[in-house]
Every structure is written in structure tokens, then in C-alpha cells.
Symmetry: C2
Subunit: 201 residues, 2 copies
Amino acid sequence: MSSPQPVEVWFEFASSYSYLAVMRVEAAARAAGVPLQWRPFLLGPVFLSLGWNDSPFNIYPPKGRYMWRDMARLAAKYDIPFRLPSQFPRNALLAAQVACLGQTQPWIAAFARAAMRANFGEDRDIGQPEVIADILTALALPADTLIAEAQADDNAQALQRQTEQATALGIFGAPTFLVGGEMFWGNDRLEDTLAWACRPA
Amino acid sequence: MSSPQPVEVWFEFASSYSYLAVMRVEAAARAAGVPLQWRPFLLGPVFLSLGWNDSPFNIYPPKGRYMWRDMARLAAKYDIPFRLPSQFPRNALLAAQVACLGQTQPWIAAFARAAMRANFGEDRDIGQPEVIADILTALALPADTLIAEAQADDNAQALQRQTEQATALGIFGAPTFLVGGEMFWGNDRLEDTLAWACRPA
């Protein structure tokens, strides 16, 4: 039996369906024996490259109305907390910078879940540094140090490069899962992604 | 135990994901004891109302490239024939008119599957009346009569009204399933739709 291939998890903290995927992916991947590689990025520049200067859920109101109903139903199905955010999309730059800084650290999954839950489960403004600091502190991490490092030029540029890489890879939304050259888009594809990663070589 | 609610199946013959849903829905609904109400419509006017003069899969090339790969994978998973259409989207007006004429007839599901399979499984041009005639004849239906009735003013207008109703209902893509006031979008939501239809009243 060959080992499962690693899965890259491309996600954005302002993305509603990324929330559902981020809350589910670590447990599902562990159960399947699939290693994860976290890839936070910014959807804004990706959307701009498609000609959208806002979330398509805002640009196309019928899609947006449907998405929020779909989110509520899916969150109930998965037993994930959900509260309609009072602002959408939220500024997720700092959260993404922190996640980029920590994307190979043991705390990345817990941080990603906590920040996404703050946005979509608790209606907290993750664009506020105090909120990110609270989240880091609750994880027993040195909030001030990490936030300073996350905002430093090196790391800010690393996030920009990762975002450019997303566009170069043909990513057009989030979450997106990559397994080798195979792309799967959307929370709906998490199970198919893990099955693909476990296919015999 | 209460009876399952009926499910309206809104679909378009030129829509790739409608193909997967149309091929699966009758057997899945029968297994769940859910009655179906077929609602063929035209995506073109719906897309125009969103500002798109073509399929979004053509307007946004990364989405289109992904969709075709996703289609191939899903067709393999469901064991549904798939062949990349040499033209997309195809003119599906006549197919939709025939389906609208027959949407309460016993042959609707078989016709819908055959015409969708012609488009996405066999790369046949369903915009050609001969192709639609072939499909009807293979179902032992009177092709010439049905095509003439389908194109007559009364039925052509019925399809137009159904398409206007789709927009009025907030439908923005296909397939869309409606259960009472509950909307589910996409082949991915077929199972959730049937589960919803079977919820206790």
C-alpha cells in the first residue's frame, strides 16, 4: 500500500465556504492518513484578475442570498457554529499574514479554525488586531511577537507571493485543494480530495 | 410518517452540471420515495439578468478549465458517459421546448437523459432538429408531431414564462432544486435536497 499524497489547503479567512472546510479538514485528513500543507492566500487579488472588485456573492445578489442560506444549512449539518457576519467580506489581511507566518507550525490548524470561527461563528471583526491577538493568546501563543513578525516585510511579501502563486496555479476561489496537479474547488470536494490523495500511485 | 415533499428539478440542456443531475435524479428520487416535478428552462436570459452574455465557464477561463476536469472526474465517479463537447454551450432551445411540452408526461425523464447524454456524453449537436428527432424516435415517440407542437407559439411562450419564473424565484444557475421554499443549487446538492424533502413535516 502506498502512502497518501499530501493535500495543499488553499483558503482565505474572509471566504464563507473556506470556513466550513477549515473546520473539517484536519480531522478528516487525519482519519484518512493524509498530510496537509496549509496555504493561506488573499482572494481579493485573485478576484481582481477575474474582473471582480468585490466578492461575487455581493456582486450577484441572488448568489449571495443563496450562499448564506446554504451556509446555515451546511453548518447545521456539520454541527459547526454559524452566525451571519455583520460585515462581508471582512478584511482578512492580518489573519492571513499570521497564518502565512505559521503555515508550517504546529498551531496553524488551531489558529485557522479559531480565526475563521471568530468571523463566521461569532461575528467578530478579524480585521481588528485586538481580535487576532485575543485568538493567539487563547492558543497560548505570544500574540504581540507573532503579530509583529506577521506584519514585517518579509512575511507580508511571502503572503503576496503565495497569493500570486494561487493565480498562477489557476485558483479562482476558496477553498481549493491541490493534490499533485489535481485541483478540487470548494468545501463540497473535501471528501473527493482525500479519496484522490489515497488512490494507489 | 409523513409523505416526502415533491422536488422541482430546474435544469437546462446546455448546462454541464445539469447533465450529472439529470442522469441521477430519477433513480435517487425513486429510492427516496420523492416525487419529481420537471422544470426545464433557459439559462441564457437568467445569465443576462446577472450581466453575463455567455456561460460564466467561458467568461472566466480558470473556472471553465476547472469545470471540465471536475466533470470528467465526477462522470467517472458516477459511471456516466462523458465526452468533452466540441461546442459549449450548445443551443438548447428546441430540447427545452420539447421538455417543456412533455414536463408532466411519462417520457420526460427519459427524454431529458437522452438529450443531455447526446450533448455531454456523445458530443452531438442538440441544436439540430434531426438530433432531437432521433432522440424522440429512439424513445418510440412521434418526433415530427412533438417537435411541431414544441415549437408552436403556446409552448414556446410557456417555456419563456417558465424561464421568467426561474429568475423571479431567485434561480441563478442550473441545476436548481426547489423543495417548498427551500432552494438547493447544483448537482452536489441532490442528496441534501432529497433528504430535505423527506424531513418530517
